[in-house]
Symmetry: C2
């Protein structure tokens, strides 16, 4: 029984690996179908960026990296693989903090995150690193288009990555690519149940959807996607880049 | 039909207002029951801090506030109610940033957030402000105990608030009080599907659960709680204060 207003977060398990050139939509359809499920109008599909990067070939073999002196020093001091540091610096538009073993950068997309999003988990056992997709909003749009082509319905797509944050411990999921829905739910100038006009409430629902999906995706379980059913999203041309605060308005960069 | 591994996020609608001294557990049971639902073992209950603050009497009438000169100047320059600024400063242990109309403080609990969490939405139409609960972890524990007393099962409780964050636009939910579950899912030193040993993955599941609940709670809908069903939480003495990064390890304070 489904309660009114209820949200369902349905994990999509994927057998086997995604390789460069693979069609993610095909793989996901196969997986969804083999779970006895299907995508329905109103669903939102959340996909971890890792399978997108793999399918797009945004994976670098670490053996090909010749780390710079800076990366070697940092790696030695902080016991991290200097090739990863080299890659993270190469992917960065700007270093935001580089201190105490923590490297926070601004990527060329504008995301502020650790190590420019360069990641060796769930790639190939530590010998290769996945980069963020080249243009994650475009990747989401392309996946949305593929889905529409194959099943004739328009399902918003969120591409998620796992980011840390200042002030709070632990990582949470964020949306790095979005297509087909507004990324915010806008309560500004609406009136609450007590008649008070809300001033500053712009809810980052795309990030919250990424978090909800993260709860079922995990990091070990071979579950790189989730279907979110029952969320009243607002259709439209939302983009994850709208979630990036412009540097000039950011007090913590 | 529920898919294996599926998560359900079930909104709990509450008729009427919460007043100082009200039993939240009684009110929530009434609401859950009238929706034809009940709490089950394995459920997590997420409650917005606002109803907790109201029931605990952590609400201040703005007419009683005599704003300081600093608050009056800030209010005038940035077109905000100086009484709210006064209250926010009074609730702060430390001002983290006060610039361009944005006041970020560290509360005495240690949370870093806008205006010390002082909030006039969903209180009484703009004439009163809700503060954060005195000790939100203790509030969560007390609610968990009440629930156990009434229905004999131990349901983890998360008290959520809506916070902004650096680098990204929009607000998301965070856990400000937790009882009955670990706040992190710890992947450190576990091995992914490719045999790679994960290094830094400590997932803040309490915050992600708060976000999932936020998707159904909204700000206008009289839905101050949600039941999350199907999440494999780790029982234990987790506390929201574990989610606060100690100032000395924080590069952005």
């Amino acid at each position: 029984m489904t309660a009114p207003g209820e949200l369902r977060v349905i994990p999509v398990r994927l057998e086997g690996e995604i390789r460069s050139g693979d069609s993610i939509s095909q793989k996901l359809f196969g997986a969804i179908h083999s779970q006895g499920m299907k995508l329905l109008p109103g669903d939102v599909l959340v996909v971890t960026h890792k399978i997108v990067s793999k399918s797009e070939g945004s994976v670098v073999s670490l053996s090909e990296i010749k780390p710079s002196l800076k990366a070697r020093r940092w790696g030695k001091t902080h016991n991290v693989d200097p090739r990863l540091t080299h890659l993270a610096l190469a992917q960065a538009k700007r270093v935001v903090r580089m201190r105490g073993g923590v490297l926070i950068t601004e990527t060329r997309h504008g995301f502020v995150c650790a190590n420019s999003g360069v990641d060796v988990s769930n790639v190939d056992g530590g010998e290769s690193a996945a980069l963020l997709p080249d243009d994650p909003d475009a990747s989401a749009e392309s996946l949305q288009r593929e889905i529409h082509k194959q099943i004739g319905i328009s399902v918003p797509v969120i591409i998620a990555d796992t980011f840390g944050r200042p002030w709070r411990e632990g990582l949470t999921e964020v949306a790095v690519g979005v297509a087909g829905m507004q990324v915010f739910r806008d309560f500004r100038n609406r009136t609450d149940a007590q008649g008070y006009r809300l001033k500053a409430t712009l809810e980052a629902v795309a990030d919250e959807l990424a978090c909800a999906a993260g709860l079922v995706c995990g990091k070990l379980s071979g579950t790189p996607a989730a279907i979110i059913r029952g969320f009243q999203y607002e259709a439209g041309p939302g983009r994850a880049r709208q979630l990036i605060r412009p540097a000039k308005r950011d007090l913590f960069r």
